[in-house]
């Protein structure tokens, strides 16, 4: 079935709700309206207003209610209208949900999903990549698919996981990605990276909307005789350390690319891991290309300057290839 990324999200929700009566949805405007991006379109008609519950505009209550329902054995999937608003629920996520199993053996099988990321001129409050607030929190899982197939497969796995999962959907990809998506029992495992394109010369480790950017550059550079491997992380916590090491050993050169800002971004953590475990295998410095350390600016030329670009990526890749 040809589906866009957001249609794949919707299909995953629908299939999981049909399969398991413990799964239910809550969020702002997800019912009759079907969500700001239509990820839940029509689900209220099939499952009713209790399993597709419009909540008041209150993110702490949204997450708190999800946690409480999970304690009774349910599997709530809470939608954030934009992932920027997850900051409003930070305490519930970081102090309640993330620590619950560690502190008192009470699992919290919830999914907190919604659109993240920039490139759509959403400005400072509708474009952020909040992953690192949560990657730094033991007890959470953080997932971000780059394809429609993975959007479906990872979301289904996230719903079945017994831990709180922050599920970041990249809004730039929502309708720009369309591909054949398998129906039914297609699961993508959490914690496993995916080789989006094999190559022998250099690894680009990335995730989210930077995956298509890296693939575009890889295609272009293949014409110049440079074979890039693109590794799509898919899960940011826990990281697939083995998958990254394997890629680094294959190519001996690594560039980390992310749309999130630079300082304290995932690239720093990956660099540390590679130094620790693959120092001997590397033939060049580990480089990173990220967004700038600023809020996400609104005006198109400003946002373009802020975001990593294909041109800059190609330049850095060539520089690294010379080692």
């Amino acid at each position: 079935m040809q589906l866009t990324y957001v249609e794949a999200i919707r299909l995953a929700l629908e299939e999981e709700m049909r399969r398991d009566p413990a799964v239910f949805l809550l969020g702002e405007d997800i019912g009759v309206y079907g969500g700001a991006f239509k990820a839940t379109a029509g689900l209220i008609d099939e499952f009713g207003p209790v399993r597709v519950m419009d909540t008041p505009l209150a993110e702490s209550a949204l997450v708190g209610a999800a946690i409480g329902a999970a304690y009774t054995g349910m599997r709530p999937v809470a939608e954030f209208q934009f992932m920027d608003f997850i900051a409003c629920a930070y305490n519930q996520i970081v102090n309640f949900a993330a620590k619950s199993h560690y502190r008192w053996q009470a699992p919290v099988p919830i999914v907190l999903r919604g659109p993240a990321g920039g490139g759509v001129h959403g400005g400072p409050f509708h474009s952020q990549n909040p992953e690192m607030h949560f990657v730094h929190t033991p007890g959470l899982k953080v997932v971000e698919p780059a394809t429609a197939v993975d959007a479906k497969g990872l979301l289904k796995s996230a719903i079945r996981d017994n831990n709180p999962v922050i599920f970041l959907e990249h809004k730039f990809l929502y309708r720009r990605v369309k591909e054949e998506v398998p129906e039914g029992e297609h699961l993508a495992p959490l914690g496993k990276a995916r080789v989006a394109r094999p190559g022998r010369d250099l690894s680009v480790i990335t995730y989210g909307a930077m995956v298509p950017l890296a693939l575009e550059v890889a295609d272009r550079l293949a014409g110049e005789g440079l074979e890039l491997e693109v590794l799509d992380l898919r899960t940011l916590l826990p990281l697939d350390v083995e998958g990254m090491l394997a890629s680094a050993r294959r190519t001996s050169k690594v560039l980390i690319l992310h749309e999130d800002t630079r300082t304290g971004g995932l690239a720093g953590e990956i660099t540390a891991l590679l130094q620790e475990h693959a120092y001997e295998d590397l033939d060049g410095p580990i480089l990173r290309l990220t967004a700038a350390d600023t809020p996400v600016p609104f005006s198109p030329p400003l946002e373009e300057a802020f975001l990593p670009s294909a041109a800059r990526l190609a330049e850095m890749v060539k520089q690294l290839a010379r080692y």
């Binding site: 413990a22 009713g48 008041p56 702490s60 946690i67 999970a70 199993h101 502190r103 008192w104 899982k141």
Partner: protein, 471 residues
């Protein structure tokens, strides 16, 4: 300060209170009461079916079950397949004050030899007798008394353990609040849920945790319910006791307990989920978010606001401009009650009513319990900021002493029986302490275990597909 925000629904003021009022007026140098001028209107005198008197008392509707709308929009029987397709119930009664006396006092900031201090002015009057217990047998009243004794004895033991350096960190006390912790939890049914705050150790005992669990938590031992990973009353039990472990951040339990009700409703069950919050904690944003969600979704949250007049060192008037925290309920469209938190029978009655309402699908209730934190915030805090006269007033309202007098007056227990009970409680606590102390400290490698659930648990709804059940 007189607590005066709530509408006056007391049918008739007892003579004792009138006398107390005049004492208070003298003490305050003027009329003490600025209560709502509304005169109570007996329910019977209300015009039947017609316009409601503007500000009279409102009567409990016998059945708080919400009307539910079926696909056609009309009121229908509950549809278990779509339990949420309902309309919000009309709450016809929103406020009840069960108290026998009103608090009248002033707390002012004064300069005392160059230091800012609080001065309390009020009449140090003895409390009225406890209300007659509703729906409690003699045995149950005695049982509540015993839980309160156990609660206090446990905390005295914790203090001893602290002084012997066997506690890791601080100790939090519910001294003066035992009646509220115990009687509220006592009203819960086995299928209901609760989540205690730090001072509600009594509620954990009532819910069936042995005292040793709490002691081991404070001593950070290997066999504590959290295995040494957390302390104090920060533990719970999903499976059998239906207790959610609190976190330190105040207010956050409120939406979580609303969510517990939601999860149970999705399984066809209307349950009550009780939690507590302080006069400090009610200032948080999440208090509002959680209570509002419970109200909108008509969830059986039973929220007990323990207004003990202090939040650490901050007095009530620096938290909020209102005096009766119960009136907040009005803004959420939910019923509220005020009780004397040192009268366990009032607490029980209010909690019981709220729980019944929850079971009937009638939504949340806010109960304000007025009481006093009789020790510092925690063991390190001598609470020098609390005026002595204020403590003196409240010492007369010690919940254990009040209940003891009441039980004796009833001739349900005599001095000898009470002594016997105290001894039994004391030896139970000592045995619990020995058991707690027998537990070793946790092995260091445990620090790295259990961050994630990797199949060690199998969370699933217990009641889905098994038809509707009533707790």
């Amino acid at each position: 300060m007189a607590d005066n925000d709530a509408p006056n629904t007391t049918p008739a003021k007892p003579a004792a209170e009138a006398a107390e009022k005049s004492v208070a007026e003298k003490a305050n140098g003027g009329p003490a009461s600025s209560e709502s001028p509304a005169q109570p209107v007996p329910a019977a005198s209300r015009p039947a079916g017609g316009a409601r008197p503007q500000r009279g008392p409102r009567r409990e509707r016998p059945d708080h079950r919400p009307r539910r709308r079926g696909p056609g929009g009309g009121a229908t029987e509950p549809n278990p397949a779509r339990p949420g397709a309902r309309s919000t119930p009309r709450v016809t009664e929103w406020f009840q004050d069960l108290r026998q006396e009103r608090l009248r006092f002033e707390l002012e900031e004064i300069w005392d030899e160059g230091k800012l201090a609080y001065r309390w002015t009020g009449a140090i009057t003895p409390p009225p007798p406890l209300v007659e217990p509703r729906g409690l047998s003699r045995e149950q009243c005695i049982e509540i008394f015993r839980w309160m004794l156990l609660n206090r004895a446990l905390e005295q033991q914790l203090e001893n353990l602290y002084k012997q350096s066997r506690v890791v960190g601080g100790v939090y006390f519910g001294l003066g609040q035992e009646g509220c912790s115990v009687a509220s939890a006592y009203a819960l049914g086995p299928n209901d849920w609760m989540a205690p705050m730090i001072r509600n150790q009594g509620s954990l005992l009532v819910r069936g945790f042995p005292a040793r669990d709490i002691m081991m938590q404070y001593m950070a031992r290997a066999d504590s319910p959290t295995g040494g990973k957390d302390g104090t009353s920060h533990f719970g039990d999903l499976e059998s006791r239906h207790v959610v472990a609190p976190i330190s951040m105040l207010g956050d339990l409120i939406p979580v307990m609303a969510g517990v009700c939601l999860g149970e409703r999705l399984q066809g069950r209307e349950i009550a989920a009780m939690t507590w919050i302080g006069d400090g904690g009610q200032s948080t944003g999440v208090f509002h978010e959680g209570l509002n969600l419970a109200a909108v979704q008509n969830l059986g949250l039973v929220l007990i606001v323990e207004n003990n007049l202090w939040a650490y060192s901050t007095p009530l008037q620096k938290q909020t401009r209102i005096r009766d925290l119960a009136i907040r309920a009005r803004a959420y469209g939910i019923p509220a009650m005020i009780v004397d938190g040192t009268d366990p029978f009032q607490v029980y009655q209010a909690a019981h009513q709220a729980i019944e309402r929850a079971h009937a699908g009638g939504g949340p209730t806010l109960i304000e319990a007025k009481l006093m934190r009789m020790k510092g915030h925690a063991i390190h805090d001598p609470a020098a900021y609390v005026p002595a006269a204020m403590l003196e007033f409240w010492r007369l309202r010690d919940p254990i002493a009040r209940l003891e007098i009441w039980l004796k007056r009833k001739s349900w227990l005599d001095e000898a029986a009470i002594e016997e009970m105290r001894r039994a409680v004391e030896s139970e606590i000592l045995a619990e302490r020995d058991a707690a102390e027998a537990s070793p400290m946790p092995p260091p490698e445990r620090a790295f275990e259990g961050v994630y659930c990797d199949g060690c648990h199998d969370p699933r709804p217990r009641f889905l597909g098994r038809g509707r059940r009533r707790p």
